[in-house]
Amino acid sequence: MTYSFHINGHPVEIGSAAMTGLLEVLRDELGLRGAKPGCGEGRCGACTVLVDDVPVASCLYPVALAQSRHVRTVEGLAAPDGPLTPVQDALLEHGGVQCGACIPGVVMTLTALLERTLRPTPDQICDALVGNLCRCTGYHKIVEAAVAVGRGEER
């Protein structure tokens, strides 16, 4: 089957079996290797991308479901040669990045949260992050970064 949808604003056509995971399509066919295959079983969130602005675990998300939708990945946030987005910048400013394997997913989850909720509380942020496992940071600095973005300290 062929599926057409938008990736980071650009139309794409993908010939693939319906149940192929979106993550595999992104990484192996489109060369977008930002989203990470942390577990392949929908548990770690390292593969999180936004489908119509909603975070999904792309490893389990069948490509067929992306038909006619808008998919956003970490590569689509800031221009490669442009400045970071407030979320990306805040994560670095607050020391929220260690190994970074979880970070592409965390960035997408926080981006979606901050698009919906202008000033999220730490509790709202933790709730949003519950599907993004980070084995390194203990989450504190990630939460601080999101709070700072909500307060408008990162622009």
């Binding site: 930002g34 020391g95 190994c99 203990g138």
Partner: protein, 768 residues
């Protein structure tokens, strides 16, 4: 050097050099590395915990579509091991654990490789599996390695004891005879899995007669040597290039998939990628060992510790990784924090038919400290002494000796207790007793890994500086921030101008690996040594340009300047490019070795780790609330005071503490890598429960600066230890909350309910 004289870049929370790539999704991790024409490999793994291979026929698999090579033990027959050389790359005649590699297939796609693996004909004649310590240590137990004693590197021990270490000091029997009270306890702790977000992965190729492997390796030189040993070549025939590392925590120190990638690349003439699935990762990638700790202590009525006997048994699994290497840590660690004049400790690492265990951050310390601190609480309870008071009465003070006779001139345990007290006054916390609320406090002295290393620093012609080293950036920021800060401070250049060469065993000097918090300490020292030599070279080269004596020159703000005449200066870029034609390119290699420290070697046997280099001191306090209906534990408050030597990058250190505490919380409350009938039960992240953002407790951190005389700018190892006392502090707090002793981890809701009902046992008390 007083803090005021420190260059301002030391103590600055500078950003990581790899940060932009990481937040943009542009960093290339091991799991992202691809090469043209790359094949994919899958492994055939043993379905049984023990048995003899009676048939292994790969002929059908070899002819399947897309298959390029199939290899078995016959293709890599050499014995290898980090310490004890007791393993082959693939099982030869006998399998010893579920998941042990038996064959490997390289094919055009992962699916084709998996199909071929399924087509391999493997028949195993089962042997009775040895799964518990009791079975392994029974006098008539079947030896899992009948050839144990013949292995190169075989340690003290015998039968199924892979390594035995001991420490004895003082007059133990006399002290017990004179005691007012003798307390005994037994503790048991589970396996904990490192579970980095990036599973093990490697891409190998064969090039110019050598193996080249890209891997997220924590200890690239060990991986190099192990690949070489498995494949029967000299170590220089292997080159390890370190990708961005998606987490390690000890799990990526030793070689795991790299030798398969290399062997299959050689066989096929193509690059080969091997990657663990998450299930393989959990089932086969060497976790922290399960353990049993037995303690028996003689005390005086006033709470003075008189003597202690201790026995620690750790599970080696079927083959030896780092666990045997660490067997000698418990005997020193148990006597590193409190004054115990008479001791007899025995530590054994035991073979079982289970997945081999290995290093996980803190190695065996989290369970030894859990046991010791719970045991101290038990003693306090028996004596009716306040728990904190008991600790202060016995804690080692500056200048006192640890159990191995090593003096600790800079011991700061009392300072750490004081720092915690300032934040969370003990009397207040314990005065108002509320049902199902409890507090716990725990202390530990820990080490910085003493492994040696070298680093090269070169000044580029544009005035920037490149550090070439074997230091692996595993996420801590040790390389991406602190080592750069150290070099920037030594050379007076902006930290942004200090660049890191990709870690590659071909270009770097040996380095002892990103383990035991050694990178800032070890690579930092080596880089500082190199930078010091580079500074001399710069001053010498600049002396001609500035027409001044080298002694009158200084380095600051990217320039060489005449001291006292700051307008007479020349940019480092000019010095470096001029030097090409006068003194030659500016570069130097520095070295780090840990200095010898005094200790009493006569009291130890079987010891690899004999003493603590660049010791650090820690106190943790936890306050918890237990739900008596569900058994759920909520951590209300968590306080850390940690000696960091020098806080070179405070933000990165806090990050290590926050992450380490949450891993410790996982160990204490959630994580239990269960093995049933030799099979790992928890082989996905649904049943193996990692802490989420909702589990992160409120944290209050005090960084204590207690400079190490032989660390870079006073720096010590900081990243590993924050995991260590967490299970002890939380366990003590839970026991306090429920009014029952705790002897096992993890304290899941079920375990807490069982303890509430008095179903946990192991408490023992003998009144002398």
């Amino acid at each position: 050097m007083s803090p005021r004289q420190l260059p301002p870049v030391i103590g600055a929370s500078v950003r990581r050099s790899d940060g932009q790539d990481k937040v943009r999704g542009a960093a290339v991790y091991g799991m992202d590395h691809v090469e043209p024409g790359m094949l994919h490999a899958r492994l055939l793994r043993s379905p049984l915990p023990a048995g003899r291979i009676v048939r292994l026929d790969t002929s059908r698999a070899a002819t399947m579509p897309g298959v390029r090579a199939v290899v078995t033990a016959a293709d890599a027959p050499h014995l290898s091991g980090w310490v004890v050389k007791d393993q082959r790359l693939m099982a030869a005649d006998e399998v010893r654990y579920v998941g042990e590699p038996v064959a490997a297939v390289a094919a055009d796609t992962v699916e084709q490789a998996a199909a071929a693996v399924a087509a391999i004909d493997l028949e195993i004649d089962p042997l009775p599996a040895i799964l518990t310590f009791d079975d392994a240590l029974a006098s008539d137990a079947r030896p899992i390695h009948p050839a144990r004693d013949t292995y190169t590197g075989a340690g003290p021990g015998g039968g199924n004891v892979a390594w035995e270490s001991g420490l004895e000091r003082g007059a133990v029997e006399d002290a017990f005879a004179a005691a007012d009270l003798v307390v005994t306890d037994e503790f048991s702790t589970p396996r904990q899995h490192q579970s980095p977000i990036e599973p093990h992965v490697a891409v190998g190729r064969f090039e110019q007669g050598r193996y080249v492997v890209h891997s997220p390796a924590q200890y690239p030189f060990l991986v190099r040597d192990r690949v070489a040993e498995f494949l029967g070549v000299r170590s220089s025939a292997v080159r390890v290039i370190v990708s961005t590392i998606g987490g390690g925590f000890g799990g990526k120190l030793d070689a795991m998939l790299e030798p398969f990638a290399c062997l299959l690349a050689r066989r096929t003439g193509r690059p080969v990628r091997v990657a663990n699935t998450r299930a393989e990762e959990l089932a086969t990638a060497s976790p922290r060992e399960n353990a049993v700790v037995r303690l028996r202590t003689a005390v005086r009525a006033d709470g003075t510790l008189l003597a202690q006997e201790g026995e620690v048994i750790g599970d080696n699994g079927a083959y030896s990784g780092e666990t045997v290497f660490c067997a000698s840590i418990p005997p020193v660690l148990l006597g590193a924090t409190y004054r115990i004049p008479n001791v007899r400790y025995r530590s054994r690492v035991v073979y079982t038919n289970t997945t081999p265990t290995a290093a996980f951050r803190g190695v065996n310390a989290p369970y030894c400290v859990f046991a010791q601190e719970m045991h101290l609480d038990h003693i306090a309870r028996e004596l009716g002494v306040d728990r904190r008071e008991l600790r202060l009465r016995n804690v080692l003070r500056a200048g006192e000796e640890m159990v191995n006779g090593q003096p600790l001139p800079d011991a700061a345990l009392v300072d750490a207790f004081d720092a915690v007290e300032k934040v969370a006054p003990w009397a207040e916390l314990t005065a108002a007793r509320r049902p199902y609320r409890g507090v716990g406090i725990a202390a530990v002295t820990w080490l910085s890994n003493p492994g040696p290393g070298g680093a090269t620093v070169k000044v580029n012609e544009d005035g920037t500086v490149t550090v070439v080293s074997g230091g692996a950036e595993i996420g801590t920021g040790a390389m991406a921030t602190s080592v750069r800060q150290i070099v920037a401070a030594e050379l007076g250049v902006p930290v942004e101008d200090v660049l890191l060469a990709q870690t590659d065993t071909d270009s770097a000097s040996f380095d002892g690996g990103a383990q035991g918090s050694r990178t800032v300490f070890g690579v930092g020292n080596a880089a500082a040594d190199a930078a010091g030599q580079v500074r001399e070279q710069l001053l010498k080269a600049a002396a001609d340009i500035l027409e001044a004596a080298p002694d009158d020159l200084e380095l600051a703000e990217g320039h060489v300047a005449v001291r006292g005449a700051p307008h007479k200066r020349v940019p480092i870029a000019t010095v470096a490019s001029t030097a090409l034609w006068s003194t030659g390119p500016i570069a130097a290699t520095g070295r780090h070795i840990a200095p010898p420290l005094p200790f009493d070697s006569a009291c130890m046997s079987g010891a690899v780790f004999t003493h603590f280099v660049a010791a650090t001191y820690h106190v943790h306090l936890a306050e918890v609330e237990v739900d008596p209906d569900t058994g759920a534990v909520r951590v209300l408050r968590y306080v850390v005071a940690q000696d960091v030597g020098r806080a070179i990058n405070p933000q990165m250190i806090e990050g290590q503490i926050e992450g380490g505490v949450l891993q410790g919380l996982g160990y204490a409350l959630l994580e239990d890598l269960r093995v049933d009938g030799g099979r790992v039960v928890d082989d996905d992240l649904e049943s193996y429960r990692l802490p989420t953002a909702l589990d992160a407790p409120p944290l209050e951190i005090s960084l204590l600066e207690n400079p190490c005389s032989y660390g870079p700018f006073g720096g010590k190892g900081v990243a590993e230890p924050p995991i260590i006392p967490v299970a002890a502090a939380l366990g003590a707090a839970v026991a306090d909350a429920i009014g029952r002793p705790v002897h096992e981890l993890p304290l899941t809701p079920f375990a807490v309910l069982a303890a509430l009902r008095g179903e946990q046992d192991g408490v023992g008390k003998e009144l002398a």
